[in-house]
Amino acid sequence: MRFKAMALATVVAALAAPVQAEVKVGLITTLSGGGAGLGIDTRDGFMLAIEQAGRDDVEVIVEDDQQKPDVAVQIADKMIQSDKVDVLTGIVWSNLAMAVVPSAVGQGLFYLSTNAAPAQLAGPGCNPNYFSVSYQNDNLHEAAGAYATSAGYKTAFILAPNYPAGKDSLTGFKRFFEGDLAGEVYTQLGQTDYAAEIAQIRASGADTVFFFLPGGMGISFLKQYADSGLEIPVVGPAFSFDQGILQAIGAAALGVKNTSSWSKDIDTPANAAFVEAFSARYDRLPSIYAAQGYDTANLLLSAIDKADVNDDAAFGAALMEADFDSVRGKFSFAPNRHPIQDIYVREVVQEGDVFTNKIVGTAMTDRANEYVDQCKM
């Protein structure tokens, strides 16, 4: 599948870019299987920005990784060896990113992450050619911990799937939660029934429940939690409250607090324009993945205007400037090339027939990440 940004090269772009080398971008993301919704949003957000820019010096090649690490590696090999791309982007999942990123940046390519940003790549494994435009994986969990503390909760019951991202999430929460833990549970990855955990929560006497259960796991948990009659307030990262899956949870999610680096009601002109353009173009509301894809494309375009992609140092410096209008408002890079940004607290609300999120506060301001000092570039 190939999209070529059609439209005319604008005069502005032509003036701003003294070096007009064609830039090839490889977008690897999940377009089939259970996780396809996330990848489709990433792609659509990214392509929206490219289309809006309307330039013909950027070619984007899109391929489906089927959410399988070995397929992602194979596609990356193809894009590098056969298509000769300059920049890779688009991977949703941390385990796929870990399979592709180290080897790609090792071969001198740029990788811009639209979502996954595991700790390994922020700390000792950081690289001048690797930029996370989304967040550092721990950020939203840390924000949930900070929020739970500021909301005055004293004891928390926390749960996540038993895999590395799940453990990172609980670690992130605990880093900023100052109360006590009433329970800490690792569930099976892909688990669909949470009756046992809910019973433990009921027996634990906690003030609040923090959970990180992405995708279908979160849908199942929230539906079952709502039905259990438990009134303990729940908080989680944005992944389980994404636009794509909120409709599948329905009223069970109403009122739940979640932390996010983006929300469709962030009050900036850039965000309003993005939400409107995305809704008009694709006939649905954008998700955080779409927003991050959109920002990534705009960051890339801003750097292309300033430097030659073949000049690693100059192009890296141009990216570091983050000279683009982020839909998240404030946006800059920490030294380890991960964002410094605000993390918001949102609440799930109903607008007409549609379930969506509304910002109710800011959990962390200008948060960078825990690994800056471990990164030696």
Binding site: M1, L31, S32, A36, E63, D64, K68, P69, D70, V73, Q74, D77, K78, Q81, S82, S94, N95, M98, A99, P102, S103, G106, P118, N162, Y163, P164, A165, K167, Y186, Q188, L189
Partner: protein, 327 residues
Amino acid sequence: MSRERAFNLAALALLVAVPAWAQLTGETFTITLATRAVIFALAATGLNIALGLGGLVSLGHAVFFGIGGYAMGILAFHAQSYTPLTDWPVTIPGTKLMPVIWLVAILVSALAALLIGLLALRTTGVYFIMITLAFGQMFYYFAISWPAYGGEDGMAIYVRNGFPGLNTLIPIQFYGLCLAWLLVVLWFNARLARSRFGLALNAARQAPQRVETVGLDPVRLKLVALVISGAVTGLAGALFADLNRFVSPTMFSWQLSGEIMVFVIIGGVGRLFGPVAGACLFVALEHLLGGITAYWHVWLGVLLLFIVLFGRGGLVGIFAGRGAVHD
């Protein structure tokens, strides 16, 4: 059977010619694809020993593939982080040497096959299918939730492991290694099928009662077949991990077990070159159809149905006709 031999020779010629052409024209990615196909062919050839000769319908061969992969991953991980595997009773360091990794992959997957076989071969038929499937899931969940080696995230190995005298980072050289292994195993497989063991195993598949009444133990024959089969598939797993420079629990997934079986069936069960033809066709389809539609699995499913329902003998059968499997 000369037509089958002609087919085999043609397949061999392609395995040499296509990457050579790709090398000359600079189509490096075609070599990577061919390497993938050859490794899958090796894994499927392993399964074909159990399935084609022994009649063991194992839906858990990804276990061995994954074990081979993790043998590579764990050894290379310790080598690249300069930590020993264990300090007690003696210090065992990691390694980045392919021959050592291969040996470990073969031995460990053979051991796993022995243990699984001891349990699973207590049963036959449909029980055997389901038990191997369940063992696969058991390893899969273990790999996901055991934290020491990356869990669900898997492990990235930054530089491909080395082989004395070669630069394995150059695609065509690594391809050569994989092809050499495939040829060695195919040769072994051809000999095995005609050996005393092959004869007895073949009979154990067709008439287990008969084997027993001549004083042989069909279960023991099948156990040995499963061990050999698992070892070959484990070797393929180690090579696959080196191709991707990455291992993860998906190498244990039951879909992969299904796919390995698909290679064998599309190509032709019990045919020497069946798994090779099947794996090559699968990789080609994945590449070509995957480029046309994101829903290519539907068409793969339809193709598979047609082969099962109407094309007994798979690709090799279609080209070379039915005819004796052994001659």
